[in-house]
Symmetry: none
Subunit: 535 residues, 2 copies
């Protein structure tokens, strides 16, 4: 590893525990390779400390530290090994678990210590005095081996409420034995910011230790609790990427760093790194195989998406009027959504995004708004169907629909035969470039069969369609109070290998609605491939 000349200064620690505490999230199961990739992303982002796991506790974490030593060359971060204080009644020097922490080669070690009297007695089954001795002995031993040591005081806030004197004793024991930071942990996540601020201020005054905060999100206040601790004097914050963690999760690294950098004006990242926040958040989500949360503060796909007409007209005047920060600061972008709540202003902005200037033609913009409202009343939605909206816009701009073929009829047959097998078949009849085409397709279902039939009918005339692929498909029943007779909305996402787009269809039933969305998907694909529509 490098000597860390690019490391953040020591006055404030951004400590990431995605690889240790974050991995406790339901649904996350990281391989060693995943952990190495995530560690590189976090280092690239510029956090000061990366807690990699508990070497010795399981083979995967032991292997991670071995490979980290060989393969990782951090630019900014220091690697941290997590473990516990020595066992009760033993000695730190002979403790195999502490030896494994040292063997990991990590320059920094976090030791979890009990600070709630009831937990010492019920879960650890030792005396309050011996627990203090375990803290002192373990910290002194690791410090004597030249490591930095942070103490995680588990259940600190509940312990403080139950027995303030004892909780403070644990902080003093760690501090006096030489721990570089004593971290107050809200392990059950039940705290609220007002009490966090009071407790942290009291602990700081009573012990003089350098304090850190580790917040869980069970009240939905982990970010606020982290900032409340900083307000009260903590200078070390423990977070996880995207808030991953046990139960509800941990304090989310990105809004914590966003608040510190932008709202507190405190430099906690290397220059230029804040703007990579959105990319890094999404990249880590991909590695852990979870869809990035669209509504995550700062970095979510929707974090700067505007829908209301009231807002859109003001945004046209000045984007700052409806955004708390410039999205580019964190590598995100503003997006205008098209809905019947939107007025002319948001349609104009959306048009500009798609390359059509509607601002000079108020009458045209008005027609588009009217058509969107009319269509939405039928159950259409354009928010998630950019391609269908662009086709609607083109219809109005050019005064006629973009058509590559004219439908005569389609038919689908789905059946279950007496032998229990299923079969789906579709036939389309259409006109394209003056020819009448009839084609039949088979598929897994009626819509798949329709897609196959349409492709068979058109592929000779439009070979560009070979690239088109349907990637995702969503069905929503509207007015779901009239049984199977209700209206159906279908959203289809398509791709041609270089981009993807969404189209929408609404009709009395799922097959007819799918036909409408399919037709838009084919039309948009051909326009995108540069083919000119028929007259």
């Amino acid at each position: 590893m490098t000597d860390g000349s690019a490391r953040p200064d020591d006055s404030f620690h951004v400590f990431d525990t995605t690889l240790r505490d974050g991995a406790q999230r339901e649904g996350i199961n990281l391989t060693v390779a995943d952990k190495l990739i995530i560690a590189r992303y976090l280092d690239d982002f510029g956090v000061g400390y990366i807690e990699g796991g508990w070497p010795g506790a399981n083979p995967r974490d032991t292997e991670f530290f071995a490979r980290a030593r060989a393969e990782l060359d951090f630019k900014h971060a220091q690697l941290v090994a997590f473990g516990a204080t020595r066992r009760a009644g033993g000695s730190a020097a002979d403790d195999p678990q502490l030896a494994a922490l040292l063997d990991s080669g990590a320059p920094v070690i976090t030791l979890v210590a009990k600070s709630h009297d009831r937990h010492v007695e019920l879960a650890l089954r030792t005396t309050l005095a011996e627990n203090l001795e375990m803290v002192r002995d373990s910290v002194s031993h690791l410090k004597a081996q030249g490591r930095r040591v942070f103490i995680d005081c588990e259940h600190f806030f509940d312990g403080y409420r139950a027995n303030r004197d004892y909780a403070l004793e644990v902080v003093r024991a760690g501090h006096q034995a030489g721990a570089d930071v004593v971290v107050l942990c809200d392990t059950n996540g039940g705290m609220l910011p007002g009490s966090v601020r009071e407790v942290v201020a009291d602990v700081l005054a009573a012990t003089g230790a350098r304090l850190g905060i580790h917040a869980q999100d069970d009240t939905g206040c982990a970010v606020a609790n982290t900032l409340a601790a900083v307000d009260a004097g903590a200078t070390h914050v423990q977070c996880t990427a995207n808030g991953y963690g046990e139960r509800v999760g941990n304090a989310n690294l990105f809004p914590v760093v966003g608040a510190l950098e932008i709202k507190y004006d405190r430099r906690v990242l290397p220059p230029g790194k804040l703007a990579e926040m959105t990319r890094i958040s999404h990249a880590i989500a991909e590695v852990v195989n979870l869809t990035p949360s669209t509504h995550q503060p700062y970095v979510g796909f929707s974090a700067f998406a505007h829908k209301a007409g009231l807002h859109a007209s003001a945004i046209k005047v000045d984007p700052d009027l409806y955004q708390h920060i410039d999205p580019e600061l964190v590598g995100n972008t503003m997006r205008m959504l098209v809905s019947d709540m939107a007025g002319r202003a948001s349609i104009e902005l959306k048009g500009r995004e798609l390359g059509y200037d509607l601002s000079s033609d108020r009458e045209l913009a008005g027609r588009v708004v009217a058509r969107v409202k009319e269509q939405e009343l039928q159950g259409y939605t354009y928010e998630a169907a950019d391609a269908s909206f662009e086709l609607l816009l083109r219809d109005e701009v050019f005064g006629r629909p973009s058509e590559f073929f004219t439908l005569e009829s389609w038919r689908t047959i789905s059946e279950q035969t007496p032998d229990g097998a299923g079969a789906n078949e579709a036939t389309v009849k259409l006109w394209a470039k003056g020819e009448r085409m009839i084609a039949t397709g088979e598929g897994n279902g009626p819509v798949d069969a329709l897609d196959k039939a349409l492709r068979a009918a058109l592929e000779r005339i439009y070979p560009q369609l070979a690239q088109l692929e349907l990637a995702d498909y969503k069905v929503r029943i509207l007015e779901g109070q009239h049984g199977t007779g209700s209206r159906t909305r279908v959203l289809i996402e398509s791709t041609d290998g270089t981009g993807s787009w969404s189209t929408v269809g609404v009709a009395d039933n799922v097959v007819a609605a799918s036909w409408v969305a399919l037709q838009d998907a084919y039309t948009y694909s051909l326009l995108k491939a540069g083919v000119t529509p028929e007259d």
Copy 2:
């Protein structure tokens, strides 16, 4: 509407704006029917105020208020109409927008008012003095018509920072004209709790107005900001179910209410309602057709889920050691992720609920657990399909399926004919009571046609089916990464006039999945009507 004797007292308002501000969330597009259903859930939960939309601004909201007046009979809540102060230079008495608010019949009106000097000038394009007059005139006019009036001071916190005197003037103007509550809005969502507390305390001291808070979640602190305002003296909180709202979202109703009830020990819901929080959160998610967030505080599926290890042994000693509250308080349950104990226990509980005692036959309970796991692996879900689960349970209890007919085959044909008309037809062939039946049905779509055909085939033999009606229908595409070839899950809700039940089907396509769910719906209906299955 009733006179609201069950309504919460006026000293503290839980004000829900899911139907107005929540509907701004990207991906939410509510029909009038959706809004009526959600309003009933929110009233059942026990919020004091339900903001329904902006009557007059779009046809959907106007229709909602008309139907609400006729169809909703709230037990706890009062309906609120949202609108803006009168237009600049006009008079409140002649303002068509204010007239539409009055026409809506809502007993409470929220008026949005500008409180940021720059917004008055740039977005509203009027003078600071006229804006104050707009507030006074609009409030007085609505109060004179006997309505309660709340003022939403848009961009209050940014306005306060830019021009404290003017922001306070707006609060005073509303207060002095008779507004019942002046709501301070963090419209851009950029605030942090420390500053919210300071500003709210200052406004309260400077104006004496009754204050409310409306927080957006752009810093990830909306819940904490809401509670900070309460700490400073606000007695009215505006929230949305599941935190739905524009951009990142609004303050989430559930953790706000959870904190007030449990952490503040303040009664803001009718007795017994807190324990319905999880159910209501999930039900609203289903209506807006978003998957309930698994990691939402208090109500998420994972909110009390514990991975094995350090925590598991402690939880065996005492569950309180690793949970900030008892999950049953909010209608949620603790889950241990590494054992099937939870599975067996909940299936036993569910069986007891349905009248089957599985606790005495561990082998039977084990078979049911195994079958549920196997089916869930195929994409089935029984959480929302009680009737299908009961049929599965009966299969295992009686050692054979409950069958009233044996399918030979079915076929559906959907088409669009050259004249543009659609047609859907289905044919079923089946055996019942020793007879072979063939029947054909026509419908709005293939599933509707299948239902008609099945009914035609069976109604002579089972006249009880005359009562059966399909009430709701939901489609979800599973593993949505294989286009239209992915698996499809269909949930059908049926009713016979005296009760309703849900069934589930999973197959390669929507028609085949619907057939499975339909078959369960018919079977359950006949069992419920007391008919004995065939041998």
